[in-house]
């Protein structure tokens, strides 16, 4: 049972005094940015003066900042619209009342009254929320954890990594463990531990980082519940919001993802509407965002500029070392590798079907599927794998394989198969090529962009026979296999340094 101190006149008064002092401190932080001198004033005088100033200016960015100063939270679009309208209806003398009235609901719900704030100006804030908080490392996280560390050193003082606080009402600095998760994924400096547990008292006293006339790079696809606050920042705060555009799959291939993903992405697009720029990770991904932007004039909006900044195709030295460390047994059956999270659009069913058919034809090989997935997505596939394995076919499916084991499999693979129906980029193809392993992959979209430079057999992923033929070729035709290996040897993969430089140059332009 929760025990609370009895409410007495004395401690209530102390509480109000502390809240009043904290409010005053926050208003002192926002006042210079709003061009108002509040030195020597009480909190109520400060607020009155600031409210009058924002009322007079009718500037949405000023209203956004005043809201943050009063509540220590980032306003939703509805909260800010409500405040702005109330200010327009108010007189200078009643502007303060309008501010208090329209912030009361948020302040009551979030208990953020004791928080401190800091304006972050003329700096690139990089939202790395998910990578900071979770030990999870697939597509988007791999990009972030490759790109952001490249900005360490000479650009340290020009960017700041941020995550959402526990109640998702504002940005805060990363903890040391979270920095380690983002910057040193392959070379951890700290033991892997859970994030520090924050008590309610801790949460009430958080330090909030406030983007003000800054640039905010949203490096991930944000969670549903922060999309509205981000939209508010992009639309009203005066901070330019740039996004890395991974793909529009949850919407344009909604049949292949859970409904919640599509809903989340639809709300993400609201941020896109008001962003400054989107950096597509491939030409195909950028085209999908351009398609969305082309629809915006019907809403009276122009939308962001969409730029192609194609992802890097190199693998880390750690991956290369792990792949090289394994010994290939010349007498062992050839290994076929299929890497990718397990979901319908990745088309693993077609790959498994092709493998079964080739096995029945008498070809001897070992096929290994690697990638996690929901129980719903993997249940039938895993049953099929178990049945084929019991019948004598060498087939495996690994749902939780460590990075070093995965790179080791690339080291022994004769070729990989990645016949996805829709991708934003196709990291498994790029990684396979970077490690010198030929690939059977799709002949359109972003996969075609990667594959057309060589080292791949391209097929129509909707044509099972084409997949079978390509896999048979790479299993049996040593000359063709050698030709593809030679093509790969000629390639010079794009480095993460180069990718990070391109993004940095664009973000700071």
């Amino acid at each position: 049972m929760t025990r609370t101190a009895p409410v007495t006149t004395e401690n209530v008064s102390d509480e109000i005094g502390a809240l009043r002092a904290a409010l005053g401190a926050r208003l002192e932080v926002v006042a210079p940015a709003l061009g108002v001198d509040v030195s020597g004033l009480t909190p109520s005088e400060q607020l009155d003066r600031l409210a009058r100033s924002v009322h007079a200016s009718a500037d949405p960015a000023s209203a956004w900042l005043l809201f943050v100063g009063v509540t220590a939270t980032f306003p939703s679009t509805a909260d800010l619209a409500s405040l702005r309208r109330a200010l327009l209806l108010a007189t200078p003398a009643t502007a303060m009342l309008a501010v208090l009235e329209r912030t009361m609901d948020v302040q009551s719900r979030t208990h953020s009254g004791l928080r401190t704030i800091e304006l972050v100006t003329d700096t690139v804030l990089v939202d790395v929320d998910f990578c900071a908080k979770y030990e999870h490392n697939t597509g988007i996280q791999r990009v972030v954890r490759h790109m952001v560390p490249e900005w360490s050193g000479d650009r340290d003082d020009r960017h700041r990594l941020v995550a959402w606080n526990q109640d998702s009402t504002g940005y805060r600095e990363l903890t040391a463990e979270q920095v380690d998760r983002v910057l040193h994924w392959n070379d951890r400096r700290l033991p892997k531990t859970d994030d520090p547990v924050l008590t309610d008292a801790d949460l009430r006293r958080e330090h909030v980082l406030v983007p003000w006339r800054a640039t905010l790079l949203v490096a991930e696809v944000p969670a549903f519940h922060v999309c509205d606050s981000l939209t508010s920042i992009a639309r009203w705060s005066g901070t330019a919001v740039d996004l890395i555009g991974y793909d529009a799959i949850p919407l344009v291939s909604a049949d292949s993802v859970p409904n919640a993903e599509s809903e989340r992405f639809a709300h993400y697009l609201t941020i896109v509407k008001h962003a400054r720029r989107v950096y597509g990770i491939s030409v195909s991904a950028a085209d999908e965002f351009r398609g969305f932007v082309a629809t915006l004039p019907s809403q009276g909006l122009s939308g962001p500029e969409v730029v192609d900044v194609t992802l890097a195709t190199e693998v880390s030295p750690v991956a290369r070392a792990a792949a090289s460390a394994v010994t290939v047994d010349a007498d062992a059956e050839p290994v076929v590798l299929c890497v990718g999270s397990h979901e319908p659009r990745k088309n693993q069913d077609a790959t498994l079907f092709a493998a079964e058919l080739l096995h029945r034809e008498g070809h001897r090989f070992r096929i290994v599927f690697v990638g996690g997935g929901s129980r719903l997505a993997t249940m039938h596939f895993d049953k099929r794998v178990a049945k084929l394995s019991a019948s004598g076919m060498r087939v495996e499916s690994h749902r939780r394989l460590g990075d070093s084991e995965l790179w080791g499999l690339f080291g022994v693979a004769r070729f990989t198969v990645f016949v996805s129906l829709h991708e934003g980029f196709g990291l498994p193809v790029a990684e396979s090529l970077a490690l010198g392993v030929p690939v059977v992959t799709s002949d359109f979209g972003s996969l075609d962009e990667i594959a057309r430079v060589g080292g791949c057999l391209q097929v129509d992923p909707r044509d099972d026979t084409a997949i079978v033929d390509a896999m048979r070729t790479l299993l049996t035709d040593d000359a063709e296999h050698a030709r593809l290996v030679a093509e790969i040897a000629e390639q010079r993969p794009k480095t993460w340094r180069s990718y990070a430089d391109e993004i940095w140059t664009a973000v700071t332009a």
Partner: protein
């Protein structure tokens, strides 16, 4: 006239102070009111239902495993507060 003005300004300032104090008190008291609600039997017996709903929503957003971790952190946070 000047005296009236000064007096009016003083009244106005007192009014502002009182309004801000009320605002701070009300926003702060909602915390106590919520705490009272959370002590009721109905709130307690429906807690598992709300937890399941929250977990389900979180799992849809970030996946089952991360949602499990978040749930563990939340439980630890609540226990730590006691």
């Amino acid at each position: 006239m000047n005296q009236d003005q000064t007096s009016a300004e003083r009244d106005l300032e007192e009014l502002r102070e009182a309004v801000l104090d009320d605002w701070l008190t009300v926003t702060s008291n909602v915390t106590d009111a919520l705490r009272d609600i959370q002590q009721t039997v109905s709130w307690r017996v429906t807690r598992p239902l709300r937890a399941a709903k929250t977990f389900s929503r979180k799992a849809e957003e970030v996946g089952v495993v991360p949602a499990g971790r978040l749930a563990a952190v939340e439980v630890a946070r609540r226990l730590g507060r006691r």
